[in-house]
Symmetry: D2
Subunit: 284 residues, 4 copies
């Protein structure tokens, strides 16, 4: 972002803050040293955020393949849905952060695509070591496990799961929706590197869940897990295998199967119950 | 039933018919030649049944182990739930029949327990050859596949499935709830005969579904199947295996997993959506 | 429509029919003699329509102020929602017709705006005498009261109500959503003619409902009525008054108040239950 | 309670505590000086209560006319419903207290019947000055406004409302269900004293709401109000009038109308959403 755009953004922010305490869903950027570039994100600040000095719990809400940090705000109708659920009294006010794990190219699934580390693109490290700390120091957020949750759809459900299984100390609740739980590459028409395919496979939800250490099992029992996948979803079987693997370790997991496929209708109708679920977790 | 009880029943019916066209859920009996005894059943006649001469679609609603034909009416709160769903406009008026597959003894799981044929107790033949014809000639019922449906809970879900897979020409919709899909004997403390155990196993939903003939597969594609099982149900895995087996044959099946275990709360909350689902099937 | 466009449309239809039996939501036109112009409409043809020769029930689904026949298809996400509900078994396959009652100008609320008759613009007559007959002779529709329903949002809920109260012989079910039930002009910034304001007021749901004749009351008891309005809707009070007026005449009416305001989230989440409700009415 | 019963109760409690940390719904008694007698109550202690030393939020859950402190536990199926909703992650663990406002006689609506003060029976004073303090010092409860909520059905909705309007400093959320909002005496066959009728009328939700002082209005804006009443309930109109009266003062109130009448099905299905609603309020 050049100087002029920064100034305009700053002015826009001041205006927004000045005139209203209503909720906002805005697009922002941060500088990533690990990735050597700026990364965009969207962030939802609840009604009252601008007027108070209180801190809020936070939900990281991940997009799927072919998506970006703008997918939940546009296709997902996120602001209106979140506003409604909070207003209705089914969710506490929270900050909701939508990161960007898109790759290059028209469909966003080219180079540097995905939530995990690749050569010269340590995205997982960026997310855990840079992004979360940046968000939680930039916004008024209660930065502890109890008040931090993660959710995501499809590839973002994959990210939700491997972040949770590798960093269970970070999140009180984790809610994959229509998640890619196996390591099959997303786009068969694209030629992935061997490294990409190997990493993808090794981080798949099912694979990790099947080979957890006792220490990991104990830690995961301290995360509230809730898996939601449509009965017509082409990723259905992976979700079943994932739930079964967790249960074989006696790790509690909520599981829901509603009607539907791999679609925004499913994800939009999933969001309200997830907001309730993570809210309850923020308090326990 | 002796003459005196028959007279009293007749009088009760006349009184009921005379004073009201409201829905009724009553207990009745029929004489079974195949079983060599009387069998009881409960039947729901919808509001308007007594005043009109129209025929109605029919749902057979099966009880579980330890239950009888009075389980849905009492523990299941069936009449109030059905009345409400019809009144609300989410179900067409229909006749709902609750048969009795209980066995002897305190917990109803002794001799002659279950929906299948046993030596000297051809219950499946009774159900298919006697009970359905008796009901559909005694009450004003549209007696064809399109307007006939079946549902049941636990052991009644087991019955729902093997009746449907062996007689797919009979039902337009079949809806097992929290079904026992494997052939493990119900009560470990009871000593079952070898015949019982062998039959139970051979008729298990998963087992039949895994070994369907092409003809059976074609016929089952003409039945609307809807499987509902709680994520905390101890029978959950069997339901998953059953759905997967059907899908391996490209037999369409709706699948729902809601929160809950093997309990009347789950079954009571399952019933409204099943009434809607079978209603839609009556029309298509 | 000129000859060339007609030919292209015909070719498009043939192609569509040839390649697929899947559901379609398409935009079409008809010639209105009463209005002296072409009128557009959108129409949903269910999966199977192109392959079979059966006739279907029909739902007329009306848009609100500032909208057109494309509002439900775009903002309402109609095709995906309807596809899902039918596939799920909660609705029978039906034809769904979205007429156009928009006026001139940027916001579609200028000249010739609304569902009622105005000087030189007899829209109600067009809808009842031309549009319904045209649709039901052009598509394979079961053209009788039992299999015809109407629903609409906001101004389309207003239309739903006064069409139903003036033509109760036409519809088995009528489902206004977030309906404008009073006659207050929609847009305060626009200068309406005295005729417009007088007509609007005289056709308001509340007003008609308060002054029904015995004959009208008897006829309306033969229509299944279902009113749905959000608790935060600025039109909430009119819906309450309407329901109370109907009940003062002992006309049965279902009433639902969910959380929400005057928004597409409310209308999108209203649609599935309405599809179920009118489906049940098609059968009774 | 005599010495022997006290001992048995103590033993029962020790046993219960000793063997299990599971939730319990038990019947207890307290000595009321204001009423000059013992009063019974039921109390739900959530899973984990016995094992931890943490304090919990509290919900007071009031019964209706003809009921007692055992109505929610028996007809309301309270324990299983609450267990399920907490387990599902839609409610925080909380203590739920069911007081007894029944009167004498077979139907519990004779002498000393109701939630308000009567001559020689200062029940409101008892509830506010004795019962709440007793409960909150006897059990581990976070005794402040934010973590205290109230709900009730029918006559208990009446009590919920007048306690809230007269003591808004006590509750963060108040949720009447199918509430009697007008002051019409409950049982027309019983001869009430003039005092009873006058008091009942003066404390009716609608009446109080229509004549609130500015101070009361300001205080009530600090209570989360949620009114739920079935569209077929004979008390429907009073709920409408109550909501309108609150809104005329710009007091926010959530309002829901689902299908149903004045029945336990309605109240049982109301409870889960109320547990979510009050949970969210405990955190804000």
């Amino acid at each position: 972002m050049n100087m002029k755009r920064l100034m305009l953004l700053a002015i826009a922010l001041v205006v927004a803050v000045g005139v209203s305490a209503q909720s906002r869903l805005i697009e922002c950027k941060m500088e990533s040293k690990l990735l050597g570039t700026e990364k965009e994100y969207s962030i939802y600040l609840p009604d009252g955020y601008d007027k108070s000095d209180r801190s809020y719990p936070v939900l990281y809400l991940l997009h799927g393949a072919n998506g970006t940090h703008t997918s939940w705000p546009t296709s997902g109708n996120a602001k209106r849905i979140i506003d409604g659920v909070i207003k209705e009294g089914r969710s506490v006010p929270m900050v909701i952060v939508m990161p960007d794990a898109s790759g290059e190219g028209k469909d966003h699934n080219g180079l540097n695509f995905g939530y995990f580390d690749q050569t010269n693109w340590p995205y997982e490290r960026h997310f855990i070591e840079e992004f979360i700390p940046y968000i939680e120091s930039t916004y008024r957020i209660k930065a502890d496990k109890r008040t931090r949750a993660i959710a995501g759809l499809s590839m973002g459900g994959y990210g939700t799961m491997f972040y949770t299984m590798r960093h269970p100390e970070l999140f009180s609740s984790a809610c994959p929706i229509s998640a890619r739980m196996s390591g099959t590459p997303y786009n068969k028409n694209r030629s992935y590197t061997d490294e990409y395919i190997t990493t993808l496979d090794s981080l798949a939800g099912v694979k990790i869940a099947q080979s957890l250490s006792d220490e990991q099992i104990a830690a995961l029992r301290q995360v509230r897990l809730r898996v939601d996948c449509g009965d017509d979803d082409y990723l259905f079987d992976g979700n079943i295998d994932f739930v079964r693997a967790l249960r074989s370790h006696k790790i509690p997991v909520e599981f829901r199967v509603r009607d539907g496929g791999h679609s925004w209708i499913y994800w939009q109708t999933a969001l309200p119950d997830i907001l309730t679920y993570v809210s309850i977790g923020f308090m326990e």
